[in-house]
């Protein structure tokens, strides 16, 4: 557990009445018992109570809060469903926590345009559920989609298992409404393909709540594909599974989803949901194709041939929709499944060029042995996005520290081979150190200057996403080899 600091309760009590007049008494949480459920996100090794927790009900209340905070010089941490895995929505002791889950209305669906206007607290899956009536869906599907909010997705530029073909959040947005740190309302993007001006919508996507509060989002909806099929291939050698991924792409096929899991993950999933994965395999690949019947049939034949050529022991096509969903259920429940076999797990999120996959997995296995901590690998293979899960026990003294160190080594390994420290979970609190390895001081300074363009008082989500100079100097002094000069 990381250190936390008690918020100044006197200051909180003094500020509370001001907020109560703006949004009503019920929507302002002051007592620590009431605020306890808000003290962490999906990375509970960081916990912190905020000054106050605010639960606005609509956009106007958000604007009122932001204006008041601007006048009073109060810092703000936005929060969605708190499923984030990098401590992005971790409260700050000197900041109010702005929970957006009450802004949960789907404002309109336009089936002809193929778009949905929603409030930020709408859950990712709720959009697709509402769109299904029109034969449409929202493509980015993080495994947390039953819980995470679209506002959080925008802030993290979240991905899912269908990114390779359908893109990330940034590729599936039309419009954003931002409430600035001063409480002003800005509309970015439009229903048209482009808008004159800098591409601020792209800049805002993935900005981790540092530029303001997103209060409305128009997402693109896609027609449900007429035909979807998934193949499950298993391998006795993880390197071959990795090569098979490249071979499918080399054959000119872009699967809708291409996921890989290693033995430890397979076993955990089988125990948990009985997805029908072969327990003795070193790795499995799930390869999903979608499109017209003719397209899918033709490409699936090719995929099966390639998988066999690459040494797959067996290739099974899901017989029906139920089996297809079961294959995916295994993948989508991999994190909780692994959570059952260890006291705690720590999920990493590095990306690498796919050709380095075998080498990186071998190195991770070596590091795992060196630290004496098991690591399971779940992998958005098509995108080169690794999720090594380190299994540990937080109650063992020193084990969390060792886990974090191992995690850091894995991320540095990703940088070494030309990848990135985060593919979709964001930097948050967690990866501030590794930011100093991926970026130079000049690059980090540029990020800070850009933040200041939006938030000159630095009141939005303070201390997250971009490390300060001091922290980098400390990090570089400790790990001279991990300095940014080493990158390609």
């Amino acid at each position: 557990m990381h250190q936390s600091r008690s918020p100044d309760t006197q200051r909180a009590a003094k500020l509370a009445p001001g907020f109560r007049t703006l949004i009503g008494s019920d929507a302002v949480l002051l007592e620590s018992e009431d605020q306890r459920p808000f003290e962490c996100d999906g990375l509970p090794v960081y916990r912190q109570l905020p000054l106050l927790t605010l639960l606005p009900a609509d956009e106007q209340e958000v604007r009122d809060i932001m204006r008041y905070c601007h006048e009073q010089g109060i810092a703000v941490v936005p929060r969605g469903a708190a499923t984030g895995l990098s401590g992005g929505a971790l409260p700050h002791p000197d900041a109010v926590l702005l929970s957006l889950t009450r802004l949960n209305r789907i404002i309109a669906i336009d089936p002809v345009a193929g778009s949905a206007r929603v409030q930020p607290g709408v859950r990712n899956l709720a959009i697709s559920e509402a769109a299904a009536a029109y034969g449409l869906y929202y493509a980015p599907d993080p495994s947390s989609q039953i819980a995470c909010t679209i506002g959080g997705n925008v802030a993290e530029n979240s991905g899912g298992v269908h990114c390779l073909k359908y893109g990330l959040t940034v590729h599936n947005l039309l419009k954003l409404t931002l409430v600035t740190p001063e409480g002003e309302r800005l509309e970015l993007g439009s229903d048209a393909p482009d808008t004159p001006g800098y591409d601020l919508m792209a800049l805002l996507t993935g900005s981790e709540g540092m530029f303001g509060v997103v209060v409305e989002i128009t997402v693109k909806l896609l027609p449900l594909p007429p035909c979807t099929r998934v193949a499950l291939a298993d391998f006795t050698d993880i390197k071959r599974a990795g090569d098979a991924v490249g071979a499918i792409i080399a054959a000119g096929i872009i699967p809708a989803g291409l996921e890989m899991m290693d033995q430890l993950a397979i076993a955990a999933v089988e125990d948990f949901v009985h997805a029908g994965y072969p327990r003795d395999a070193a790795a499995i690949l799930l390869c999903e194709l979608d499109g017209s019947q003719a397209e899918v049939d033709a490409q699936m034949k090719q995929v099966c041939r390639v998988l066999k050529q690459q040494g797959a022991r067996q290739v099974r096509l899901a017989r029906d929709e139920a089996e297809r969903l079961l294959f995916w259920k295994g993948r989508k429940t991999a994190f909780p499944a692994l959570g059952r076999i260890a006291a705690d797990y720590y999920c990493m999120d590095g990306t690498i060029p796919r050709s380095h996959l075998a080498a990186v997995l071998t190195r991770i296995a070596e590091l795992s042995a060196e630290y004496g901590l098991p690591v399971a690998n779940v992998f958005h293979a098509g995108d080169g996005n690794l999720h090594p899960l380190i299994l540990y026990d937080a109650n063992q003294p020193g084990e969390l520290e060792r886990t974090e160190e191992l995690g850091g080594r894995i991320l540095e390994l990703c940088i070494e081979v030309g990848g990135s420290i985060t593919g979709e979970h964001g930097v948050g609190m967690e990866k501030l150190k590794q930011m100093c390895a991926q970026f130079t001081d000049a690059e980090l300074a540029q990020f800070r200057q850009l933040r200041d363009a939006f938030d000159p008082d630095q009141r939005m989500n303070p201390g997250k996403a971009v490390p300060d100079l001091k922290r980098c100097a400390e990090y570089r002094a400790l790990a001279p080899l991990a300095g940014a000069q080493g990158k390609p």
Partner: protein, 360 residues
């Protein structure tokens, strides 16, 4: 194919300009000079010689090239491995470079189906107005470390940085492309495109002009034949050229126009009151010499889109882009200053005039 790395020299030139307070104008292949603003500049920074593919591994679906690399060269390299830039940028001249394409955010026929230039840009290396060389984004499909400055460079016309190196996601070329010609009224053609979108039909490009709707179907041979047979119309024997002609604005109607307006509109938008040529299922429309120069902008705004004066061949000096609302303009200015505090780089094209900023 030439390959030369001039990043160090270019960075020195920007540093020198920052030190002396002079203003730079940036030039790649000069194929898009018609998009240039008339801003005063002291020095021309030529970027054309900084060129060459830096890294390309087809199975990674990623290519990295220097900004001065000619677009034709890049396309040839990709084609030789059966891949493509899916946003199919127009060249507007044989010397078009990759940097100019990104700086002006050009996308072609594939835009409505595959996505725009910004959708495929994964990362870049650039020089900011302080003369610092920075690298943002990456050469992997997914990277959310650091703010997305790479996409911000798309359509910034060099006002936020001198682009040095660009990494793109690329895709395999479809096994088969076929073009259908269907005769329709404009309203029916728009309706058909909407239907096709909703059916997830493999229609990867569309354009309409004077009663003729051209549709490009792409995918496996089987999927394309199946889609073609349900659509009817006439299949063109050789189709490659028609898409090139539209993309490069080489059809006669483009050349005749005194002023060419580009309308970017919601895909559900009704026909424009005057004849247009449209692409992207109706969401990009070209308007030739409108009767009233403020007409397109007003109409587009009322219909949820925007109009830009794409080519101005008249004597009058008209603004290229509509004015931004004040709060947004202010934010643009602050972003510009964050990247270019001394005003060394070209002015932000979306703002009326460059504010005078002194180095301190």
């Amino acid at each position: 194919m030439n390959s030369r790395d001039l990043s160090a020299v270019l960075a020195e030139q920007v540093q020198a300009a920052a030190a002396s307070g002079s203003r730079l104008s940036l030039q790649g292949g000069n194929s898009k000079s018609f998009m240039r603003t008339n801003a005063a500049a002291d020095t021309l920074l030529s970027l054309q010689e900084h060129r060459g593919v830096v890294r390309y591994q087809p199975v990674e679906l990623v290519i990295t090239a220097r900004a001065g690399t000619p677009l034709t060269e890049l396309n040839e390299v990709l084609a030789s491995r059966g891949q493509m830039l899916p946003f199919e940028p127009p060249h507007f001249g044989p010397t078009a470079t990759l940097g100019g394409t990104v700086a002006t955010a050009q996308s072609g026929p594939g835009r409505a189906y595959y996505g725009a230039a910004r959708d495929f840009l994964l990362g870049c290396r650039f020089i900011n107005g302080r003369g610092e060389t920075l690298r943002v984004g990456g050469e992997v499909m997914k990277n959310v470390a650091g703010f997305d400055l790479a996409r911000l460079m798309c359509g910034a016309y060099g006002s936020l940085g001198v682009l040095l190196e660009l990494s793109f996601k690329v895709l395999p070329r479809p096994e088969c492309n076929r073009t259908l010609l269907l005769e329709h009224t404009e309203a029916d053609a728009l309706a058909l495109c909407q239907q096709l979108r909703r059916r997830a039909a493999p229609a990867t490009a569309s354009f309409y002009h004077q009663g003729c709707l051209y549709l490009r179907l792409s995918g496996t041979e089987a999927a394309v034949s199946a889609a073609a047979s349900t659509l009817g119309g006439q299949m063109l024997a050789a189709d490659g050229d028609i898409w090139r002609l539209v993309r490069e604005q080489q059809l006669a109607c483009f050349n005749a126009a005194q002023s060419l307006w580009r309308l970017s509109l919601p895909v559900t938008c009704a026909p424009y009151p005057e004849p247009t040529l449209w692409e992207w299922n109706g969401s990009q429309r070209w308007l030739f010499a409108p009767s009233d120069s403020s007409g397109p902008e007003r109409w587009a705004r009322e219909h949820g889109g925007s109009a830009t004066l794409f080519r101005n061949r008249s004597e009058r000096d008209l603004p290229r882009f509509p004015a931004l609302e004040p709060k947004l303009a202010d934010l643009h200015q602050r972003i510009k200053r964050a990247l270019d505090p001394f005003g060394v780089l070209p002015p932000c094209p979306y703002l009326p005039a460059e504010p005078v900023v002194h180095a301190d």
